[in-house]
């Protein structure tokens, strides 16, 4: 029988932005409050999975043309690059640097290279989760 997914799809369109915003908030607030790359990545992949539930997989891959295996590889590259970058400054592996930087628009901003490491974790989590879900979902 033919079903009508209008309610689910409309709600998804509204709720998706709340989830994505919340996952970015969790990611950026990870240094001072609970959260970080892992939880943020899981929330983001949860939002994409909600999109896959409401629409179908082909539509989602049209909206987000991302190869998730490459995404996980990029995340590993970020994490490894932050670790290896410390060696260039003659300090031990995984030594992080931080400081206050005057950015053009944002003004005085506290930046820390651990955020780049966390971005790597974020990308790996999103990539691996979405790869698992896609591989299971496409299996027929």
């Amino acid at each position: 029988m033919k079903t009508n997914d209008l309610i689910l799809q409309t709600t998804t369109k509204v709720v998706l932005f709340i989830i994505i915003l919340f996952s970015f908030h969790i990611f950026f607030a990870g240094h001072y409050t609970p959260g970080g790359g892992f939880v943020g990545g899981l929330l983001t992949s949860g939002a994409i999975i909600l999109l896959m539930l409401a629409f179908d997989m082909k539509t989602v891959s049209l909206i987000l043309p991302v190869n998730y295996i490459y995404m996980a590889a990029t995340g590993l590259l970020f994490a490894g690059g932050t670790a290896a970058g410390a060696l260039l400054f003659n300090v031990p592996l995984l030594t992080h640097a931080f400081g206050h930087v005057d950015l053009p628009i944002l003004g005085d901003t506290a930046l820390h290279t651990a955020t780049i490491f966390d971005l790597g974790v974020f990308l790996v989590v999103v990539g691996v989760t979405m790869t698992i879900i896609q591989t299971i979902g496409e299996d027929e």
């Binding site: 079903t3 309610i7 689910l8 709600t11 509204v14 709340i18 919340f22």
Partner: protein, 120 residues
Amino acid sequence: MIEIFKIIIVALILIGAFLSLVAAFGVLRLPDVYTRNHAASKAATLGVLAVLLGTFLYFYMEEGQVNSRVILGIVFIFVTSPVAGHLISRAAYNSGVKLWDKSVQDDLKLKETTPVQKKQ
């Protein structure tokens, strides 16, 4: 903290807990899937909303912090919980769960057997 706000916060949290209890009793006592779902999705939504609102007001009055995540949670539950109830009910109907035997009306079944209404 102002006394009247203490009373409001306690009332909100107690109302929320009471409504959640009512929802639990509804799930236990009602006869079929649809009435149970009706009790669970409605009463539990309002119960959780009241508890969250009480929490928000408490932290606002006691420590002066506006926790926007609680507001976001209220909006989120208010939007998603009825949709979840709708989807569960529809999935139950589509997979052939019978209505309570004292039910008198089934409009969805009527529409399937006579797809085009000839009247008017």
